[in-house]
């Protein structure tokens, strides 16, 4: 029934090339998280604002980011904007698409974390003579950070996996891009994609493990 003979040696020989691709994968994921967190904070402030002109665009961003396929978001950044004459390279388009998605999800994560902290905490800080900014920074923010930490790390894992969608907009240097190129050259589809899958798995596991360690070190209460 099967007459496919596995040829792992070829795949192992390509390992350095694939690991180099994995570095690009990590680079895009990390950048998309850093920019995504910054935007998410702005979106969260916007969504909680009393001004409709701030609330509406922030809400629209969150709704689209969370309720449409990530693939479309990346497509839009590349081909969609291309229709308007704005050309983003595959790298930038992929980064933009994932950042867009991250910001939408993280905005809600941060808002939820903020809501989870009773406003009596703020009052207690103010009663001790702290101004609103100081009370927020010293009392509310650290608690928010703890609540949002693991969900944020989950999003990081999603970001790593989402980078694989870059192949659809011509991304060739990340792990999936490299794998796809190797596959096209050799037709050793199973071996190469199995290897790639294992690398993705190990990366995401490492990220989760590291974040558990960090959380355990950081949040002693």
């Amino acid at each position: 029934m099967f007459n496919y003979t596995f040829q792992w040696r070829q795949a192992f020989r390509a390992l350095p090339e694939m690991l180099e691709g994995a570095l690009y994968t990590m680079q895009i994921a990390v950048l998309s998280m850093i920019i995504g967190i910054a935007i998410a904070v702005i979106l969260a402030v916007g969504r909680n604002s009393s001004s409709r002109w701030l609330r509406a665009p922030a809400t629209a961003w969150v709704e689209v980011a969370r309720n449409t396929p990530a693939l479309f978001q990346i497509y839009m950044a590349h081909f969609g904007l291309g229709s308007f004459g704005i050309y983003l390279s595959p790298y930038v388009a992929l980064l933009a698409g994932i950042t867009f998605n991250n910001a939408g999800y993280l905005c809600e994560t941060f808002r939820g974390a903020l809501r989870a902290i009773p406003d009596t905490q703020m009052r207690a800080g103010r009663s001790l003579g702290m101004g609103p900014a100081k009370a927020f920074r010293l009392i509310v923010m650290p608690q928010m950070f703890r609540i949002a930490f693991l969900p944020t790390m989950n999003q990081m894992v999603w970001a790593i996996l989402m980078t694989s969608l870059g192949v659809t907009v011509g991304m060739a240097i990340d792990l999936t891009g490299v794998t796809q190129a190797l596959n096209a050259r050799t037709f050793r589809t199973f071996e190469f994609f199995a290897m790639a899958a294992i690398i993705y798995y190990l990366i995401t596991k490492a990220v989760m493990l590291a974040s558990r360690l960090v959380a355990w070190r950081l949040f002693r209460y």
């Binding site: 905490q121 702290m130 209460y221």
Partner: protein, 240 residues
């Protein structure tokens, strides 16, 4: 001295304070009793400027709390307040809870702040708990930590809002003992309380609040012995 003059305060259409007049002298302990919703907590949050008022004025050492020019952050340094729900900062150890404001508000050095904090914590019987997080403390211990936290700012006035009513009965005593110690030390205090024995034993004067009005005020012997006001008598017979 805290001078409260004709203070009115509403939440929307609900009139919560309807012309309160009360002067608390240095070193005096005034207990405030009264039914639920009569405006006792609201009065305390008005005194330290957490809530605005609609009419009248409140002076603390001659400074008008609600005047535009008043620096509330500075004024609050000398008015400690402790709430019913302890409000421990869960992300900080007991010691850090107490040193936070002296360091970040007063700009005190870590060492000096810690010395003061340890002294205050020992004073309230938490000398052996300084390294733990509040989640490891009982309710009574958390409340005593909140008292130490307020005292570490060396306030001239302390406001207490039903600091024992969220506690199990067997923990009430330890917190009341702390308050008694403080009163004996000469602290100026306003205590909203449901503990009639405490009000009777510790206060110089007891004020009875009824629906936003201070219906009666006088020494404990008068309020608990021969209250003139009908509502006061009714309230007291209901809590006994």
């Amino acid at each position: 001295m805290i001078e409260i003059e004709n203070v009115h305060k509403s939440f929307g259409a609900l009139k919560v304070l309807k012309g309160i007049d009360l002067t608390v002298d240095k070193g005096e302990v005034v207990s405030v009793i009264g039914g639920s919703g009569s405006g006792k907590s609201t009065l305390l949050t008005c005194i330290n400027g957490l809530e605005p008022i609609d009419e009248g004025r409140i002076l603390v050492d001659g400074t008008e709390v609600h005047a535009r020019s008043t620096d509330l952050n500075k004024l609050r340094r000398k008015i400690g307040i402790v709430f019913q729900q302890f409000n421990a900062f869960p992300h900080l150890t007991v010691l850090e809870n107490v040193t936070l404001a002296p360091r970040k508000v007063k700009g005190m050095g870590r060492k000096e702040a810690e010395e003061i904090a340890v002294r205050q914590l020992e004073h309230v019987g938490l000398g052996d708990k300084i390294k733990v997080y509040p989640s490891r403390l009982s309710g009574g211990q958390q409340q005593r930590m909140a008292i130490a936290r307020a005292l570490a700012m060396s306030p001239d006035y302390m406001l207490f809002d039903e600091v024992t009513s969220a506690l199990d009965p067997q923990l009430v005593g330890e917190v009341l003992d702390t308050l008694k110690l403080l009163a004996d030390g000469g602290m100026t205090m306003i205590c909203v309380t449901h503990e009639m024995r405490f009000a009777r034993e510790v206060s110089d004067r007891v004020a009875f609040f009824d629906q936003g009005v201070m219906a009666e005020i006088g020494p404990p012997e008068q309020i608990f012995g021969e209250a003139k006001n009908e509502a006061t008598r009714k309230f007291l017979s209901s809590v006994r």
